[in-house]
Symmetry: C2
Subunit: 260 residues, 2 copies
């Protein structure tokens, strides 16, 4: 029987909201078993870039990362946000260790080639997660806090989407652990009726997903999110949960799993 | 017989000079045995603070760190400088791991009280170095890259002088290793005649130090630097070397040791 590992991914909006963040850290601290926190920080990066006179340009919700913006995200994700989370988790009794993909060669990536003529700049698509090194840390009672930055092995930091970082880490660690991947979301989970929070769908399998797409229950940005979650469970992750940042106890939200 | 550990402290001036930095990283990568890099980043912090409209105020060469400046140094030391060094060392085949004192509770400190009526703000004086955790990393073939930031255990990051950080880490690790602490300096070492680089003093012991102070060979800012080095060798560090950033092979510079 594998030990449990819970990976929580929290976005920039929660990181910037002190009340939500304090609650999240408290709830994260009491999760039993091994755990990893993966964070974003896009809102803060946009603010710091703005203060430095650097414009944030987004395409399909993804940040164009030129050399100046790479410095900003390296400062904000790797420094400001990451170290603040680490210090606060230490104060909760959690032996946190902040990591980018460069640290211990945790996550290697390559610079994304032009895509439909769009140059995303210093953005990294993940090639390899060093699951062995991460599990060694976990076995020593350490809780990794991962910033959405990777490296190319040639000395360059690359900006990587935090959702992708979380699912790639989850997949790689499913060799060693029984992994639950929790995505903090702005709604209680996947809703049949977006206006009605009581219409939460508790479980979604791949079969059901196809049905929900066909009948329009699931649409727009939710489709790639769920496809990403289903890909994770297809690659060994036990379950993916989409839930509010205030409800990461594993008992709330929509659970995406292989079968019922 | 203890294994060897070399701790190299490099300041912000070298970190900002691409030619010197590239040379230093190459030389650091080939040092045999265990090693740790401790870095500064003050010049970059001053630049970033300036670009954000935040004034850098120094007293006796030490930075006054208010809440805004703490964010800047957390970004610059913990993120920009640290992660860039880590990625570049990985490219040299060194399994680097960036750390602040908050990570793995590596270095705990307390906020400095008012000193001669001066409030240094969020500056931390070191209380404890987690030597056990650091030596575990070293035994796993990991090379820590340490930013001059500590934490108070209450959730707060504090700004800590990089020279102090290096000597405290060196002292704590002398329980486990035969430690050489190398300070990169703007001159080849301690000179009898500041204008003559050939007047280098190869070895200084505590006895000789007193003589050099008495006869004026050593004066000004060199006195506290050497006192700090002598305190390190009194607390178990085998030797401290003061040398150029381009000469960290252990064969150059002034060696401070207990006796000849």
């Amino acid at each position: 029987m594998k030990e449990t590992l819970t990976i929580v991914k929290v976005g920039g909006a929660v990181v910037e909201d002190e009340a939500q963040l304090a609650r999240l850290l408290k709830d994260f601290a009491v999760i039993e078993g091994h755990k990893i926190l993966v964070h974003g920080g896009g809102r803060r990066a946009t603010k710091v870039a703005g203060a430095l006179g650097i414009e944030s340009r987004m395409v399909d919700g993804r940040r164009i990362t030129d050399a100046k913006m790479l410095e900003v995200v390296t400062m904000v994700y790797g420094g400001l946000v990451n170290k603040s989370l680490v210090a606060r988790l230490q104060a909760c009794g959690i032996n946190a260790l902040g990591l980018t993909g460069a640290d211990m060669n945790a996550v290697e990536s390559h610079k994304r080639p032009l895509k439909n003529g769009i140059d995303f700049g210093f953005v990294g698509d993940v090639d390899h997660v060093n699951g062995y090194a991460l599990q060694l840390l976990l076995q020593q009672g350490i809780t990794p806090v991962m910033a959405p930055l990777t490296h190319d092995g040639q000395g360059n930091i690359l900006n990587t989407n935090a959702d992708t970082m979380a699912s790639e880490v989850a997949k790689a660690l499913s060799r060693f652990f029984n992994v639950t991947l929790i995505y903090c979301f702005e709604k209680p989970g996947v809703l049949r009726n977006p206006a009605d929070e009581a219409s939460l769908i508790p479980i979604i399998t791949r079969e059901e997903f196809s049905g929900y797409v066909a009948d329009g229950t699931v649409s727009g940005g939710m489709i790639p999110k769920l496809e990403n979650a289903l890909a994770a469970v297809d690659h060994g992750v036990s379950k993916v949960i989409i839930t509010l940042a205030t409800a990461i106890d594993g008992k709330h939200g929509t659970v995406i799993q292989r079968r019922k």
